[in-house]
Structures are given as structure tokens and as C-alpha cells.
């Protein structure tokens, strides 16, 4: 129960030697910043920031309980206005990703609730939500078979690939693709895309996302090491 378990970790930027412009914005993560949730994390990517809180495993309503595994619930709140259909669809995507990695069978007839609050949105919101969710689940001690991360790519009209696009780049892009990748083999857990792209471009984006996810996983590892080291 350390109160100094708040770690402000730093930045991971790197450019892959093959494709120019494949660099992520600087990111930062802070864990255990809220006192009420079992686990909480704030993930910052450039100017995009998402706060995630996890409650679980906890009591579940009889109508929602599943006899052999935990019931996962994801709630995403936008900053302005009431949540709408877009939030519901994002919640569904995040829930599907979490259900693939969380070992729900260890906690049957319980509920794990993940609440996300958008603090600021400057592009790549879905990827930031996924990263914040993963860090919060780790902070809460929910058993998982792998960590996961989100990476967003944007394809503009000439076919140039941009990783971790800003809001302006997303608006002008021809297609925006978000992937959730797992930490063990960089397998694809979830993908959501918007716009026109060819099969070859999809493979190219996926390969770039897999390369970028290595940086994110390295960042996770460093931030957790720093948090739990005795120095």
C-alpha cells in the first residue's frame, strides 16, 4: 500500500529504420493515482490523455453473472456531452480485447469493471484507451495471460504511413487503422478501421504496428520495473 507508487515514467520515441515517419509521440504513464478504484492508470500519448480505473474482481448482479468466468464491463465516458453510440462501440471493442487476455476463469461469478475517462483527445484515442486499460488492469492485479497495447496508423492520400497520428493527421487521412496487439507474439487481438485501403496496405500497417508495439511493451516493462524496484 505505498502512497509513493505513483511513477511518472517517461518517454518512448523511436523511428524504425525502414519507413521514415514511423515514430510514436512521446508517452507517459502514471499508476495508482486514484484512491478508490482497485487499480488506476493515466496514459498520455502526445496530447491525448486517458484515465482508466478498474474495480475487480467484485460482486456481480445475479442477472449478469457467468457461472465459469468473470463478467467484464467497460464504460467509456467522453469529456463533453453524454455518451453516445460511438462510445458504446469503442466500449465493445475494448471489452473484446480484454476478454481475450484476462484470465476470467480464475474468478468465476465476479465482475471486473473498467471505467475510462477521456481527459483530452488529440488523435489516436482508441490506442490510448487500450494502453490505459492495460496499465490499469496490471495495477489492479487482475490476472492476464499477456499484456496488450494499441497502435493507430493513418494512411494519407499518397499512401504514406503515419503511426500515432494527431487529430489533424487523422482528419486528413484516407484511412485510419487501430490495432490491439498482445505482448507475447504480437498477435492481433482486435482491429478497427475506417476508410479505404488495399490488402497490401493493411499488411504494411499491421507490420508497422507490430514493430511499434515493441516500444510500447518496452515502456510498460520499464515503468513496472521502476515501480517495483527497491531503490
Amino acid at each position: 500500500m505505498q502512497s509513493d507508487a505513483k511513477i511518472r515514467t517517461e518517454y518512448g520515441t523511436d523511428s524504425s529504420p525502414q519507413s521514415p515517419g514511423c515514430s510514436l509521440r512521446h508517452f507517459a504513464c502514471e499508476q495508482n493515482l486514484l484512491s478508490r478504484p482497485d487499480g488506476s492508470a493515466s496514459f498520455l500519448q502526445g496530447d491525448t490523455s486517458v484515465l482508466a480505473g478498474v474495480y475487480g474482481p467484485a460482486e456481480v448482479k445475479v442477472s449478469k453473472e457467468i457461472f465459469n468466468k468473470a463478467t467484464l464491463e467497460v464504460i467509456l465516458r467522453p469529456k463533453i456531452g453524454l455518451p453516445g453510440v460511438a462510445e458504446k462501440s469503442r466500449e465493445r471493442l475494448i471489452r473484446n480485447t480484454c476478454e481475450a487476455v484476462v484470465l476470467g476463469a480464475l474468478h468465476p461469478r465476479t465482475s471486473i469493471t473498467i471505467v475510462l475517462q477521456v481527459i483530452s483527445d488529440a488523435g489516436s484515442l482508441m490506442a490510448c484507451c487500450l494502453n490505459a486499460t492495460c496499465m490499469a488492469l496490471v495495477d489492479a492485479g487482475v490476472p492476464m495471460q499477456a499484456l496488450f497495447c494499441g497502435v493507430t496508423c493513418a494512411l494519407d492520400s499518397d499512401g504514406t504511413l503515419v503511426l500515432d497520428p494527431t487529430a489533424k493527421q487523422e482528419k486528413e487521412a484516407r484511412a485510419v487503422l487501430t490495432f490491439a496487439l498482445d505482448s507475447v507474439d504480437q498477435k492481433l487481438l482486435m482491429s478497427t478501421t475506417k476508410g479505404l485501403y488495399s490488402n497490401a496496405e493493411l499488411q504494411q500497417c499491421l507490420a508497422a504496428a507490430q514493430a511499434a508495439s515493441q516500444h510500447v511493451f518496452r515502456f510498460y516493462r520499464e515503468s513496472l520495473q521502476r515501480r517495483y524496484s527497491k531503490s
Binding site: A58, G81, S111, V115, Q117, S120
Partner: protein, 242 residues
């Protein structure tokens, strides 16, 4: 999720400590917890931390038609949301009483005290006025939501800049932030709510109750005051005032 019930021994301990003028976190009767205010990258975004209670505030604006009976005034809209992150008991269907009470108090404190000049929000009388929307999200509940929310609301309103607009005859031009610098809202004064919790039928009083203290209190008195020592709103609940 159901609220974890407060055990009797914890309740007795808290009340005994208050009778001996001691608080769990070592504060005195009139001490406030540390307040930390941080701003986001957008105009009108702020996060207020009152001890461990955390509130996110965001102000946004939109051009709309005015209300029929107030054709020359802008519209102010406040929305406080108790996020499920703040406490496990804040489920969407279950918090209506507390939510209505807090929202109503915030509205009375900020709208009825006329701290924002709504006449300056008018663009074309009877046709286009600014609607200022303040969204507050409670992120962590450690007591005294109303104080933190009122601070977040007024700070976000002071930080906010609305797009500049010019009217020439019948033509209304809305400038983007790149064309012309956005304009701040005109704020007359800044009302802040202060909460007093009462215990043992009004014998003992504490300022800025924490979450545990709120659970054992008998009554709550909220007074909204501004810098010029004017009282903007008073609300008392839970006990008889002598």
C-alpha cells in the same frame, strides 16, 4: 456494486475522535485539505484535486437560438457526472438523489449568482447566442464533492476562451482560433462553495469533511461565498438549524 457498509466500531471511533477534536488525517476543525489545480491542453479544461477527491472540468461553447423568454441572454448549462470510477456505488441507475442535489446546488451557486455575464454572450438578439456548457466529471470520491466541483467549474470557466465573432449588419462571421485569438468569458466574481459537516445534533462542526466523516455526519451546510464576502448560496440539509 453495493456500497460497503460502515461498521459500527468505525462509526463509534470516528464520533469519539470528533468529540475529542481529532480528525483521522490530523487536520484541525477549520482546516482544508490541499488543493491542487492543473490545466489541460484545451482551453477550459482543468483537474482539481481536493485532498484525494478529484474532479475534471471542461467548458465548451456552441451557437444556438436563445430561450424565448430571454432573447438577449446566453445559455449556461451545468452537468456534473458521478463517474463509476469515483466510487463503486455510483452505478448509472443508483445515484439519482445525490446527483440531483449536487447539480441543483451547482446551478444555484453559479447561474443564479450571475457570476457569468450572460448578456455578453448574445450575438444576434433573438436569433443566435452562445450556449456555454460546463461538464464536470467526478473521478475519485473522498468526500466533499460539491466544493471540488464548484472550484473546478469556476476555474474552467475562467480558463475558457470562446471563438471571436463579429456582426456586420445581417452577417455574422465566426473566426477560427487561427484567424483571431479566442476571447475570454466575462466573469464578475468567483463563488466557491464551502461545506460544513455537523455531528452529534449540531454540537460539533467540521469543515471539508472527508468521505468517512461524511458517512457519520448528521447534517451538512453548504455556503457559497465570493472574494467580496458576499454569500451567493446557502443550503442546509439533514438536521434542524438552531
Amino acid at each position: 456494486m453495493k456500497e460497503t457498509p460502515l461498521s459500527n466500531c468505525e462509526r463509534r471511533f470516528l464520533l469519539r475522535a470528533i468529540e475529542e477534536r481529532k480528525r483521522l488525517d490530523g487536520r484541525q476543525t477549520y482546516d482544508y485539505r490541499n488543493i491542487k489545480i492543473s490545466f489541460g491542453t484545451d482551453y477550459g479544461c482543468c483537474i482539481v484535486e481536493l485532498g484525494k477527491t478529484r474532479v475534471l472540468g471542461q467548458v465548451s461553447c456552441e451557437l444556438v437560438s436563445p430561450k424565448l423568454n430571454r432573447a438577449t441572454e446566453g445559455i449556461l448549462f451545468f452537468n456534473l457526472e458521478l463517474s463509476q470510477m469515483a466510487a463503486p456505488a455510483f452505478e448509472p441507475g443508483r445515484q439519482s438523489d445525490l446527483l440531483v442535489k449536487l447539480n441543483r446546488l451547482l446551478e444555484r451557486c453559479l447561474r443564479n449568482s450571475k457570476c457569468i455575464d450572460t448578456e455578453s454572450l448574445c450575438v444576434v438578439a433573438g436569433e443566435k447566442v452562445w450556449q456555454i456548457r460546463v461538464d464536470l466529471h467526478l473521478l475519485n470520491h473522498d468526500g466533499n464533492i460539491i466544493d471540488a466541483a464548484s472550484i473546478a467549474a469556476i476555474v474552467a470557466l475562467c480558463h475558457f476562451r470562446r471563438p471571436d465573432v463579429s456582426v456586420q449588419g445581417d452577417e455574422v462571421t465566426l473566426y477560427t482560433p487561427e484567424e483571431r485569438d479566442p476571447v475570454p468569458l466575462s466573469i464578475h466574481h468567483m463563488p466557491i462553495c464551502v461545506s460544513f459537516a455537523f455531528f452529534q445534533q449540531g454540537t460539533f462542526l467540521l469543515v471539508d469533511p472527508s468521505e468517512r466523516e461524511e458517512r457519520v455526519m448528521d447534517g451538512l451546510l453548504v455556503i457559497a461565498v465570493n472574494k467580496h464576502r458576499e454569500i451567493c448560496t446557502i443550503q442546509s440539509s439533514g438536521f434542524e438549524m438552531q
